[in-house]
């Protein structure tokens, strides 16, 4: 393409001197224009959050007037700080607990299902896959109300609380590992497994020793996505929460953000942000290490649950 294009461009340039330069020039201005828009967008997207983080370190009670740097709202304020306010502490630990439990259930469930879908054709698996994919776009409130009604009217002895929240979260997140692992299985293809089978491996052996290790980066990515997304969840955890002991950070922000809270709320939000950032960075490093070992070059985009 470029080989044949070069002479044509040379001819064009000769025939219409200046034309090409003008095109190139306008394309450069366009790139600068787009870069400016992108920078403005990023500032708009990230600066408000940065200000929220900044004010978690405010020495005073204000969330809009800077009164000096302090760790007051993290540690030493006698009643209001994250460390000393039991409800904030509880919300933080409960949020992380839900994220851990939901990830531990969602990922194996989804990975096994993706493996099954790769070989098992028919109405049942494709129907189940369809239902799992619907959870991507169904308003979360529908899923949450369904489970709320099921617990309150059908499975009454079960009761709301941590496990109801975990069940709701797993159902809502199940599509991540399924989609990500299926995409990866499609690129892996069938030959490795066939080769293993030809060399005498059993079907389970081939899955365990060949497919699962090759699938590991995809499993890791889906685990991180599920974990980060559960930290963020609000609708499901709120409807399926039983009392103050199953309150999460997002619920706390929802309930107190408008009622003149102290910067301790900012501090709590900042801690969750730090937790998810750490998990993402650690996961990304592990992912890069593993992919490199496998000679795999996957882009950052796939890391974002780019569907």
């Amino acid at each position: 393409m470029t080989v044949s294009a070069a002479p044509a461009e040379a001819i064009l340039e000769e025939a219409q001197p200046g034309r090409r330069r003008r095109v190139r020039g306008s394309s450069d201005t366009r790139a600068y224009g787009l870069a400016t828009i992108t920078v403005i967008y990023l500032l708009w997207a990230l600066v408000p959050v940065a200000i929220t983080v900044l004010f978690s370190f405010n020495a005073g009670r204000s969330r809009s007037t800077w009164q000096g740097f302090s760790l007051r709202w993290y540690t030493w304020d006698p009643t209001g700080s994250v460390l000393n306010d039991e409800s904030i502490r509880n919300a933080l630990t409960h949020t992380v607990l839900l994220a851990v439990l939901a990830t531990l259930i969602t990922v194996p469930l989804g990975v096994l299902f993706a493996l099954a879908l790769d070989r098992w054709r028919g109405r049942i698996p494709s129907g189940a896959n369809f239902l799992a994919l619907i959870t991507f776009v169904i308003p979360e409130i529908a899923l949450a109300i369904g489970l709320l009604f099921m617990v309150t009217y059908l499975a009454t002895p079960f009761g709301l609380g941590t496990w109801a929240q975990v069940i709701g979260l797993v159902t809502f997140q199940l599509a991540y590992p399924i989609v990500i692992c299926r995409a990866r299985l499609l690129t892996i293809g069938a030959h490795y497994e066939e080769a293993a089978r030809d060399l005498g491996a059993s079907a389970i052996g081939a899955v365990r020793r060949i497919i699962l290790p090759m699938l590991f980066p995809a499993i890791l990515v889906s685990a991180i996505l599920v974990f980060a997304d559960v930290l963020d969840d609000f609708v499901i955890v709120r409807y399926l929460s039983s009392d103050a002991s199953t309150e999460t950070t997002s619920m706390r922000i929802y309930q107190t953000a408008r009622a003149a809270p102290t910067p301790a709320l900012n501090a709590m939000a900042t801690i969750i942000l730090v937790v998810s950032t750490l998990v993402i960075i650690l996961g990304w490093l592990a992912y890069r290490r593993w992919s490199k070992r496998q000679g795999d070059t996957t882009e950052l985009g796939s890391f974002a649950g780019n569907l």
Binding site: G146, A257, A304
Partner: protein
């Protein structure tokens, strides 16, 4: 024997997830139907689900229908408002994310990794924290008012946080735009650069290349991104609650959320939810099927 066990292996691996989906997705949905088509206890005002579909009653649905289209249609404004807010927010997200996604896909050069990382950053910042950020900025003595009034010089008293539709729509845009950016980026990134070169070589100007090559090729990304944000917005109640908390900016999600907690109205919440899902059914199925097809193609 070995062959049979191999054949059974895949269904066995898939079974737990299928059981899970049936138990915690299909059954709850059926319960919603039974509540929506059930009755209400006259004394305790609690909903009584009717489990047998043959005995389903339509009183709750009729009540909701009446509130939507009957003489006493106090649901209707919120429904129309929701459609208006979602339409504005989705269009604005499109206008914002197209140039940004295009820059990231085509012109970011050596900054590509950094730009992508920053674009996905809002994904792992909790939605509630991002709303909190705007509450902090927009409160009466917040930074935005300080800047607008030049630190109190101009006597301008803008009330951002109660019943201001501008704030709610801005919040929706702010909250959902990252989810549109990524599918759009993916579809723009897939466009073969030589196509643009060819169009330019054949004499197309910058705008022509955009209108006749880039835009048509990015339609799948535009559709996917729009659906991906429009559908969840239809059930969103927390953005309006956080940034306005006023009935004058209530959306469908707020109607459902309020009925859920009000005594005796759970059945109406269920019926309203069903109506919403009915309207959203076609776009939801479209999105899921196109997604499944894209998966097979790649």
């Amino acid at each position: 024997m070995k062959d049979r066990s191999t054949r059974l292996l895949w269904p066995i691996l898939g079974l737990p997830a299928i059981v899970w989906i049936v138990l915690f997705f299909l059954v709850p949905f059926y319960v919603v139907l039974c509540v929506a088509f059930g009755t209400v206890d006259p004394v305790f005002r609690t909903p009584i689900p009717i489990w047998n579909p043959l005995e389903w009653q339509f009183t709750q649905v009729a009540v909701v229908w009446d509130r939507l289209f009957g003489p006493d249609n106090f649901y209707l404004p919120a429904v129309l408002r929701t459609f208006a807010y979602v339409a504005i927010a989705v269009s604005a997200c499109l206008v914002i994310s197209f140039p940004v996604a295009y820059f990231a896909a085509r012109h970011a050069g050596k900054y590509r990794g950094l730009v992508l990382a920053l674009l996905i950053a809002p994904f792992w910042i909790s939605y509630m924290m991002r709303m909190l950020a705007w509450i902090n900025l927009l409160q009466p003595e917040g930074l935005v008012n300080k800047i607008i009034t030049l630190g109190g010089l101009i006597p301008l008293d803008i009330n951002w946080l109660s019943g201001n539709p501008f704030t709610v729509v801005m919040g929706l845009i702010y909250g959902y735009v990252p989810y549109m950016l990524l599918p759009l980026f993916a579809s723009l990134d897939r466009i073969n650069p030589s196509l643009l070169e060819a169009a330019r070589d054949m004499g197309a100007g910058g705008f022509d290349v955009f209108r006749r090559v880039i835009l048509p090729l990015s339609v799948p990304g535009i559709v996917a991104g729009s659906l991906l944000i429009a559908l969840p917005m239809m059930g969103d109640y927390f953005t309006s609650d956080m940034l306005s908390k006023s009935p004058s900016t209530a959306m469908i999600g707020n109607l459902i959320n309020l009925s859920i907690v009000a005594p005796g109205q759970a059945g109406q919440a269920a019926a309203l939810l069903l109506l919403v899902l009915l309207v959203l059914l076609v776009p939801m199925v479209l999105y899921t099927r196109s997604n499944a097809r894209a998966e097979v193609r790649s």
